[in-house]
């Protein structure tokens, strides 16, 4: 087997995550899907790292994790405060983006 298959897997997971973002209304699930996408990217990075024989890809994946952690923290905080205010975690409730 060629490690390229990991890439295909990453692509598949990424796509599933993206579709999830689009079809779910629960902000928490949407968030999870984003995490899934990030993880798919990480898998791709790690695989690239292996394919190219250097560790830079892993470093990037590491940073991605850190950033993802920060993002999760802030994102969940936002969800919690939105929930407190609106008693709902549905992303469709915030449809104020039109005139």
């Amino acid at each position: 087997m060629n490690p390229v298959n990991y890439l295909y897997l990453a692509a598949l997971l990424f796509t599933i995550g993206a579709v999830g973002v689009l079809i779910r209304r629960n902000a928490i699930v949407v968030f999870m899907c984003v995490e899934l996408m990030l993880n798919a990217c990480n898998l791709a990075f790690v695989t690239f790292s292996r394919m190219h024989g250097n560790l830079d890809g892993q470093v990037i994946a590491f940073f991605t994790m850190v950033v993802a952690a920060a993002e999760v923290v802030v994102g969940l905080a936002i969800i919690v405060s939105v929930f407190r205010a609106r008693h709902s975690a549905s992303v469709d409730d915030a449809s104020l983006m039109k005139l």
Binding site: M1, N2, P3, V4, N5, Y6, Y8, L9, A11, L12, L13, F14, T15, I16, A18, V19, G20, L22, I23, R24, R25, N26, I28, V29, M32, C33, E35, L36, N39, N42, L43, V46, T47, R50, M51, H52, G53, N54, L55, D56, Q58, A61, F62, F63, M65, V66, V67, A68, A69, A70, V72, V73, V74, L76, A77, I79, V80, S81, F83, D92
Partner: protein, 275 residues
């Protein structure tokens, strides 16, 4: 892991592992987006992440594999679960789509995107790959190798992400923390207020009174069989997560009476029979 400079295929063991775990990962991902309850989604996602951790390890990223389990599956997913609990673990999403055409567009775009991405990978991929043997052993191991990179080449990025983390932590606190603008009322003041208002001078009733279940989300029943919402804690009340069991309870009661009637009847019959 072979230390060859270039290889054309991984070991067959890894291949088996990939196909088996890969399938599971995809199923987990699909479950993540298809489960109605957030908590199930979270669990599926955690499973997928663990599998990814295994893949990291298989790809020679030992440090990342461990970090993935510890940080992601351990910390981040727990955070998710925590928030899910906070928001309501039993609340199930309706999977009915409200925006017209959204789902079809999403799936169509997803399909197109996926196919194109795969096509791109297929287009760009090379047959041979380098492997991490040399890189991992250059500084004496994977962790040392990463450390050498992070603290030299990527030191600024590292510092910046550190700052980002701190900022995120502070931000989360600011977002969720509500500043108390006035002194909290003491217990004494609270009770005085209750007396003044004349409502519920005694403590609130516990859910157990007249209750048939000892769960906190089920209101106690009043003598006429209707639920008393006061008996449920405020948080659940606000969330609307009171389980109304009044009809159920009444039905149960009726069934019980009937059963006891029968039992009594049978007893009477027996008595009469013995008599």
């Amino acid at each position: 892991m072979s230390a060859n400079l270039a290889a054309y295929a991984t070991s067959s063991g890894e291949a088996v592992q990939f196909w088996v775990l890969g399938t599971v990962a995809v199923v987990g991902a699909l479950c993540t987006i298809l489960m109605r309850r957030a908590v199930h989604s979270a669990l599926c996602l955690a499973g997928t992440m663990i599998i990814l951790a295994v893949f990291y390890l298989a790809n020679g990223a030992y440090f990342l594999g461990i970090v993935q389990i510890v940080v992601y599956t351990g910390a981040i997913m727990m955070l998710f679960l925590f928030v899910v609990m906070l928001v309501g673990v039993t609340a199930a999403d309706s999977l009915k789509e409200t925006i017209k055409g959204q789902r079809w567009w999403a799936v169509a775009c997803g399909l197109g995107f996926g196919i194109l991405l795969a096509a791109g990978i297929g287009n760009a991929s090379v047959k041979e790959f380098a492997g991490l043997g040399v890189a991992n052993s250059a500084h004496g191991g994977n962790v040392e190798g990463l450390a050498a990179l992070i603290f030299t080449k990527y030191v600024f990025a590292f510092e910046i992400t550190g700052a980002l983390l701190i900022t995120a932590a502070v931000g989360a606190m600011v977002l969720t923390h509500r500043e108390r603008t006035e002194r909290a009322a003491t217990q004494r003041e609270l009770s005085e207020q209750r007396v003044r208002e004349g409502t519920h001078v005694p403590p609130l009733p516990a859910p157990g009174v007249y209750a048939r279940h000892n769960a906190v989300d089920i209101a106690g029943l009043l003598p006429d069989g209707t639920p008393a919402e006061l008996t449920v804690m405020q948080t659940l009340r606000k969330r609307g997560q009171i389980r109304d069991v009044s009809t159920e309870a009444l039905a149960d009661l009726k069934a019980l009476e009937q059963r006891s009637e029968e039992r009594l009847g049978r007893d009477r019959d027996e008595e009469e029979a013995t008599r």
